[in-house]
Amino acid sequence: MMSTIQTQDDTLYFGDVAFSSRLLTGTGKFASGDIIAPMLAASGSELITVALRRVDPNAKEKDILQYIPKSVRILPNTSGARTAEEAVRIARIAREAGCGDFIKIEVITDMKYLLPDNAGTLRATEILAKEGFIVLPYMMPDITVTKQLHDAGAAAIMPLGAPIGTNRGLEMKPMIKRIIEISKLPVVVDAGIGRPSQAAEAMEMGADAVLVNTAIATSHDPVAAGKAFALAVQAGRMAYLAQLAEEKEYAEASSPLTGFLRS
């Protein structure tokens, strides 16, 4: 029997940029910037999100960007944007500040739960994709919006698992499953993942990557937590590729029960 485990070439692409790690991380909640580099080394994460609002090129102390090793790509985010227009302006500032072409869109008008505004997110995606950005939009899991984001030129779909910082895992599981089914773009589960087991579950389900911020940054040992999440993501991915039986809703049985009807 042929193995379907693609350990050699299981590359993740955002736009035409290739990644071998499927764990995205964040910078926003660490006790100290100094822990970011060792966390990245332990987790193998190749893409880390940074709020542009924290970037201060004229800082007296070390600027947040200086804590990130050159080998790791920066995913600036538009945190703080309340409208599409603000997100667009923040993205342009980020590009000018030398943060590259990647941008994570966050358009949030709900300060209590920090839930994204899909309409604003879509509008910002349309504009920024046209300007050549590699756009990763943070969104409420919604099938129609997923399709619209494809058409708008997004490079990935980033549905939330649960509200930011709640560590409640895959509360949106049924919706995320549908998105994974229809999406031709990589699906990154963003927000809400609090445990490696939840990250593994998202990956088993077929998510292409997960973004973990709070759970790593606020753990007692972010380096160990980064490693634990990396292993969970790898295990989940491997399980998905192995097509574990329960992953297929309409599995083909090896000896079909109704096969005789056609024979």
């Binding site: 006790a31 609002r53 970037v55 007296k60 102390e61 923040i90 209590k112 920090l114 606020t218």
Partner: protein
Amino acid sequence: MSFMSRILELESFDFDGHFQEVTSADVENSLRKDELREQDLFNLLSKTAQDYLEPMARKAQKLTRQHFGNIISLYAPLYISDYCSNACVYCGFNCGVQFPRTKLTIEEIEREAAAIAATGMRHILILTGEAPAQTPISYLEEAVTVMKKYFSSIALEIFPMDEEEYRVLCKAGADSLTVYQETYDREVYKEMHPRGRKADYEYRLLTPERGARAGFRALNIGALFGLGEPRKEACLAALHAHYLEQEFPDVEISLSLPRMTKAKGIIEPKNILSDIDFVQFMLAWRLFMPRLGITISTRESAEFRDRLVHLGATRFSSGSKTGVGEYSLKNHHDATVQFEVTDDRSVDEVADMIRQSGYQPVFKDWELV
């Protein structure tokens, strides 16, 4: 409906009586819940809940880290004018106190701004007394415009204005508004504000709502502890914050617990807020509103502030000067201050303390776009 109707509704409510009725079982019950209701806030603010400070603190610390991370934001206050036509009996700037009043020119504001920005600070809070004739909207607009060159977030703690006036200041680049009700108790309010524009309780109470409608992204409110009955004030301030959170979901809401401190020519505080009450109120607020910003000023001592880092605080002022022109133009003994700073450590020292406590001091957390 505004928050005024809620205040009127609660006017006949027996706060004291209700606080006394809270049992240990009530507190334990509230502590077990994930989402708290008003009754839970009440339970956690009662004297009975003081036996549960440690479990409250643990839960508050966890919630704060979950929502804000291991981060403390820093800001500096800048007094640009101490002219005031009000007679608040608890304030060193009140019009009855004789001292040579100062108002910074735009050039002086720029010098002060540069001195503060040199410490690394990117968040500024502009303060004035209430003297619209001395500090008209055009002056404030110019001040904000100059500040924009140096700071990424500009907050205002100035006299209450109309929505349209706030709009002008938001357009100029201000993004956050602080206004303390001082006391939510209307009787006490009347006594404390005998004359002047500030005597209008309702106009002040509805200021945050006007600010939110005008486009401020963040509102910071609170009571000045030392005037009314503290438990009642803590409860009403939290209900006010909760009301604003529901009504303006796109605005970040913060609460402060300024305690009255001594200044020249003012009354002694009536209801002293003890450290234990202070901590309890903070914790109860955090449990009631997990995403609430909690601001701690330099009115508090260095020692006390060091502890508060772990208990749910999200924002600290630091390196504060509370007299006009004190950052670069005047010596402290030449300045008349609104209140005395208790934690007089420099920005660097406060940032170091935050780091040593296991948190990251954040100097910039906003980008004007």
